[in-house]
Subunit: 148 residues, 2 copies
DNA sequence: CTGTGTGCAAACTCTTTGCATAAGT
DNA sequence: ACTTATGCAAAGAGTTTGCACACAG
């Protein structure tokens, strides 16, 4: 037999691809993790908060708990499937694009948008103080709506 | 060179300078605001959280409430005496240096340190999307302790 | 005096945690 | 079966708010 088709979501090749990816990262492909991964990675790069993912999952009739969403986001981040983006003091955003790149942050709507790579660079990053190493250089270009 | 400001009221030169600055910003120089301003601006550039400032005030026997610390930090930020720094999702830091500059963030100790200006620049900042203006470009160089 | 600022505690938001139950292999 | 993940609700951290009292001008 083939793999058993899952509950209500789409079945077939995509599901097993995701399951394989999770497995390859050492995560058991549970229903919730597969469903959340489909939402996260199903349509291009996304920047999403735990609340946002939770709502979107419920909108798709995937009833995951908020605690599981947090767990999953952190686990995905640990294994390198996601990246945490710090742009706003109050919420944590997760980015499905783990490449080296930077962000616009639209203050009015609290939205995060990728800055295409190659368009911006950082000159002369100072060397780390002795005893420390640089783990990342983050650039955030903050935007505000022009309200004339 | 030590002047006994604080305690009951403010009689020294520093106190009145601070009072003048507050007044010039349209803020009434209350005891709490003057005391907090002395802590903030009294010894070079600082990066401090509300909790940190609250503790430091108590350490100096200036019993301000946490709510007042928050109010004051926000008021100072509004009038341009402070700048908010977003480096960590969980806490808000305030920087007494309002010039254009960037930061190191030491992840182990959650410390913020200025990167001296002129040592680092950002190339080719993309133009803002139509309808938006850039309010600021923030660079955070994240550091971790090398633990061999 | 008069209005603004302060302090307190309660409320709020986002996130984490503990433990019984459910699911994966 | 045996282990790990999930869900729930409660706890936790940081921040904000509402209202009575206190202080600055």
């Amino acid at each position: 037999m083939m793999q058993k088709t899952q509950s209500g979501s789409e079945c077939g090749a995509k599901g097993s691809h995701i399951r394989a990816a999770l497995r390859g990262s050492g995560l058991r492909p549970t229903r919730q993790r597969v469903a959340l991964a489909e939402i996260l990675f199903g349509k291009g790069n996304r920047h999403i908060s735990a609340e946002g993912l939770h709502e979107e999952a419920h909108g798709r009739l995937v009833p995951v708990s908020l605690a599981t969403v947090y767990n999953t986001l952190h686990q995905f981040t640990e294994v390198g499937l996601l990246r945490e983006v710090v742009v706003d003091g109050s919420k944590t955003y997760f980015d499905t694009n783990t490449d080296d790149h930077h962000h616009f942050f639209i203050e009015d709507s609290a939205e995060v948008v990728d800055i295409p790579p190659g368009q911006m660079g950082v000159d002369d990053v100072p060397s780390a103080p002795p005893g420390y190493e640089i783990t990342r250089v983050d650039v955030v270009v903050r935007l505000r709506r022009i309200s004339d």
